[in-house]
Symmetry: C2
Subunit: 461 residues, 2 copies
């Protein structure tokens, strides 16, 4: 009874095409990219404007039913997995770029717009939108904001948080809060947008955002280097920061086990350098001047002469740059080779990343028979990814793998999530990274904004 | 009775040297740098460790008395002005640098440490701490964090918020929250530090912070340019962003009235270029390579050839760079020339800043007989400063000046504070920049963290 009431009320308020119930609910809304299985919500709402989101939220609050915001559903932690009997609030029809302001170097977008559409629109207008990550073609900017996405160029441009100037948000009680600020500096009261960035849709639903644009780089340089030790990796990173200064745009590391699978077993991936090395480093710089390419080359030569680099391939074209990234992006295709697996986005002190990798590889192999693990990541930011599984096993020992990885993170003073967020999957490990006082304060904030506990309940906390 | 009880309880808990009451209260704790007069608190507390801050806060909460955090007391908005009968919680003895971690490029500091001490320690360790502002010798880093300080190099390094990786904070109930994160990327739950940065000590008292360090620049270039129109200023800014890329570290504008006072009436200020111009621009870049100096010079030549610049002086030494900044920093000495005056830190869309300046100058002169006004600021960030007064008047018409300035800000779509904060002075204008929904949400946050309303009450909201 109550259920059909809500659906009817939503249909009347938002129009029939915005409300899907029963068999009309598409499979895509049942789950995200995490290993958690599908869940069927009571109703899927697809408003086409911010007022529609506010209306849906207000009706949900009246009925006290749980609401799960959904964007591109590419999350890896289960943050947008629906709740049985609840409402999935999809932003798939709240799309489009509303304005590009060249003088302010800003873009105003709707939350359901894909990252790739935003990157292209910025490029067409002569700017760079600096966030970039593997799921660019599917992920929605609202989800990037909700998870404070990181990705490939954090070392230069920062995370999603650093690219948001203003937000429009719907609160759990249905209030629409317009904070579409376009100014770089605005200290008039609390900076409310910070509450919603990275809180995984538990405090409000982002409907529109003002994004910061950067000048388009004049040239992009990249090299793939083979190194003989982790000390050499740290030396190369330090010298890249000094020589390349703020042009340094990526510094990615791949450990040998990863490199082997990425370049020998994943299809269509080039192997830009031959020979075996202890580390494979992809370093990229974006210049504002043709000179910067020469500077990159002479830096690389100096590192080879000093013996820091054992071997290196330098990109001669943008096609080469893309091919170099291919080996790094191959992680997305490890499932073709390995089948189902766990993936991680832990953070660690940079100096201790190799020690962690060695310890983790050994412990996984010792405690879980047949377990193999692959290490790579945004090493310049202290962010390591891990892929782990027992190849060919009927059921993956997900929980056992989690336990090893996260207990070691705790011991090494790291964080259980550098960029993907907590969602459902990492909740039980949150206390490994946060103190009881921090967790209590998070609950105070959650209760203050969502006293009914209806917005994405059970996620993060 | 209650009063002497508290003082006694504080003395027993913190030791007698940490507790000053009655005639022992120093004049310095009675006011900040705003034009608001002195106020005598009941007691001044000077804990020497974070636990002492927590203890003092807990005792204040028991007695329900108001607590005002104080750092260097250089604020311009009255945020650290004490409250009659309340407690001034001074961080002047919670000072020192606890750690510099070269591998992580971080520094851990106590909240009462001056900005200058932090800049020097970073420099000694081979790094740059990028925040810089006129009050560097007196202001405390805890206050810089509380106000989300901006300053001279936001265009390159961002504001204080962008340089904080972790915070330790005492909540209004006396809970000590350790969030001294050192990692660049950490998405494990809500990013709680964002609540305390820029909330002007109304949500918690910062006791320690982990700060982000940058590589020290290899060279600093600067030029002082005379330009003939605001269109030329915008052209120069756009071309500086393109050519100089991320090396661009400051782009400061001075309008002619300001220039006249700064270089002809303030003592000991050089006038690096002769002649009269519509705009005086100080542009600075920090390079990671000697080449960057040549690039800066050739950029400047191209701008002169294109006619964008009418005249320019290029710094030949660091002494020149300092002298160029002298004309910009002369604002701090306008009081010697003009006497008491109002000063503002408004934010505006960059393209509309000159239109605002013209309108504001005209309206101040029309509505307030004898009122003169001087415009300058961090134009690359959309942040304009204004100094305004009626020279020689017995009492300055502060309220009338505020009304003109802020009503025009509202009309031009700006913000009443780009960097100094709201404190007491701008409270009544906050609704010019924030919507009713935003203000209501700020109150929800304030009530959730400080239900008794004892931490810096009456500030901001």
């Amino acid at each position: 009874m109550a259920s059909s009431n809500i659906v009817e009320q939503l249909r009347q308020a938002l129009g029939p095409s915005a409300v899907l119930a029963g068999d009309d609910i598409p499979d895509r809304n049942l789950q995200d990219w995490s290993t958690l299985g599908p869940v069927r919500p009571q109703v899927v709402i697809r408003p086409s404007d911010p007022q529609g989101v506010a209306t849906a939220m207000r009706i949900a609050a009246q009925h006290g039913i749980a609401v799960v915001p959904q964007g591109g559903l590419t999350g890896l932690a289960g943050g947008s997995r629906p709740i049985e009997g609840g409402m999935a609030l999809s932003l798939e029809r709240l799309v489009g770029i509303e304005e590009i302001d060249p003088a302010a170097a800003t873009m105003t977008v709707r939350a359901g717009t894909t990252l790739e559409a935003i990157q292209r629109a910025a490029d067409d207008a002569g700017f760079l939108f600096a966030l970039d990550l593997g799921a660019r073609g599917s992920c929605a900017i609202g989800g990037n904001i909700g998870t404070n996405a990181g990705g490939n160029r954090v070392i230069r441009y920062g995370m999603m948080r650093d690219m948001v100037l203003g937000l429009e948000v719907v609160l759990p009680d249905g209030t629409l809060v317009d904070g579409l600020n376009k100014m770089i500096k605005n200290n008039a009261g609390y900076d409310l947008k910070q509450l919603f960035i990275g809180s995984e849709g538990t405090l409000g639903v982002v409907t529109r955002a003002v994004l910061k644009l950067f000048p388009k780089p004049a040239c992009t340089m990249a090299a793939l280097c083979g190194l003989g030790s982790y000390e050499a990796v740290l030396e190369l990173l330090a010298s890249a920061r000094r020589w390349l200064g703020p042009t340094l745009s990526a510094f990615e590391a791949m450990w040998p086990d990863y490199w082997e699978v990425a370049t020998r077993r994943v299809p269509n991936i080039r192997r830009p350098i031959a020979g075996d090395h202890e580390f494979y480093i992809l370093v990229e710089a974006q210049g504002s001047h043709a000179d910067d390419a020469r500077r990159f080359d002479s830096w690389l030569e100096s590192q080879a002469e000093a013996g820091t680099i054992e071997d290196a391939a330098v990109a001669q074209s943008l096609a080469d740059v893309k091919a170099f990234w291919g080996s790094r992006d191959a992680a997305a295709d490890f499932k073709l080779v390995l089948g189902p697996h766990s993936s991680f986005d832990i953070g660690l002190p940079v100096a201790g990343m190799d020690a962690y990798a060695r310890a983790c590889r050994a412990l996984l192999a010792a405690e879980i028979p047949g377990c193999t693990s692959y290490f790579y990541g945004h090493i310049g930011d202290g962010n390591m990814h891990i892929i782990a599984c027992v190849p060919g096993a009927d059921a993956q020992p997900y929980d056992a793998i989690d336990d090893v990885v996260y207990q070691l993170v705790r011991r090494h003073g790291g964080t259980i999530s550098a960029e993907h967020g907590i969602g459902l999957k990492k909740k039980k490990f949150l206390a490994y990274t946060r103190t009881p006082e921090e967790l209590a304060l998070m609950r105070v904030i959650k209760n203050a904004l969502d006293p009914q506990g209806i917005l994405n309940p059970g996620k993060v906390l």
